[in-house]
Symmetry: C2
Subunit: 216 residues, 2 copies
């Protein structure tokens, strides 16, 4: 495939991104938002198991309820879009089978031939990890999706702010997630920076190359 | 900023990406690789604390040593580039200060005025989390960088394969990371897919929209 972007264009977009504090009110156009949802749905995950669900919270009353459980950060209510990233609470054989059966069906594959792959997933994730291990494995996958989402937004000229300073249990309560099989981990606001967000002009602070890279 | 990509271009690039199994031998051009390193260095992290170090392993002998500890996956030795993603093993006041002091210096800010921000970071990460909590927090940040890296590669037309099936302790040993303050979490191969990698043509399996998205 031809690169969609030149190296310089990519770097410029990622350099332009910052943790937006103040959002303007203008909404992300529908087609752009759809592409951002695709960036979530297409995110890579271990074995392809997608142990996640993304809640797009549009209801202003619900967003107002979430804000006090987010250190009162204005992004929760003001940004065009708010996504709550949740992980699968537990990984069972049914989760593996859902993925496996869809794979067999959509690829017209032979389930018997692929059975060793199913066993590998079961051994690696369902039997091979305790509940805490499954949850942390799932959390890491969710953060891949978060990283892909913020990078995707940047190249689309959309601002984001990841919100880790939230109360996940309160989010679960407000979003009605108890018993759903999913748990809140982190949220991310997306939209357009306000013209007067002073943080936009602050120099990005990044450790020097020799601290960040090892060369072997 | 003008979007660097249209929504359709972004989706096409992310749809094109897959977990590459067989890499060709041609190398990533230097300018493109530099942009991919920038995508790592510019990755977002909680408070901006960058609790990570990325090891670019170019030495073929070292890559050959790593391969048996990676389920013998050929990507480890064959891809143009191999990055080992490591997390900071422990977060101390010195880590917070390194970031804080650089911020104060580069922004010409007043350290006294910003002291509450330093205290907030210390309270949130250094004092507010035990060692296991710090490690998991750091791991999640590293996975943001991994997600940004794979998305960045896709829009540059570069193939990747994240490798979670590795033995982190063996990697640490081979890379000489014991006592370095960094621990291996995951690796990622990058380069160009081999013309005969049959996985390239397989339909991408993604759960249906109603399983992946909640709308509130």
């Amino acid at each position: 495939m031809q690169p969609a972007l030149s190296p310089a264009q990519l770097t410029a977009a990622l350099q332009w991104r910052y943790a937006t504090k103040a959002f303007a009110t203008n909404p992300i156009p529908a087609e752009t938002w759809k592409a951002l949802e695709h960036s979530l749905q297409l995110a890579p995950s271990s074995y392809g198991l997608q142990p996640w669900k993304f809640f797009v919270v549009s209801n202003p009353a619900v967003r107002a309820q979430l804000r006090p459980h987010s250190w009162n950060q204005t992004q929760v209510t003001d940004a065009s879009h708010l996504v709550v990233f949740t992980r699968r609470t537990e990984m069972t054989e049914a989760d593996v089978n859902a993925f496996f059966n869809q794979m067999v069906a959509e690829r017209g594959a032979d389930a018997t031939k692929l059975e060793p792959y199913r066993q590998m997933m079961l051994g690696g994730i369902v039997q091979g990890k305790d509940l805490a291990g499954q949850r942390e494995w799932a959390a890491r996958q969710v953060y891949i999706a978060l990283g892909q989402f913020m990078a995707a937004a940047a190249v689309l000229g959309i601002d984001t702010c990841a919100l880790e300073g939230i109360d996940p249990a309160k989010y679960d309560e407000i979003l009605g997630l108890q018993g759903s099989g999913y748990q809140t981990l982190v949220a991310c606001a997306a939209g357009y920076r306000a013209a007067d967000d002073k943080y936009a002009s602050f120099k990005k602070i990044r450790f020097p190359e020799q601290r960040v890279f090892g060369r072997i």
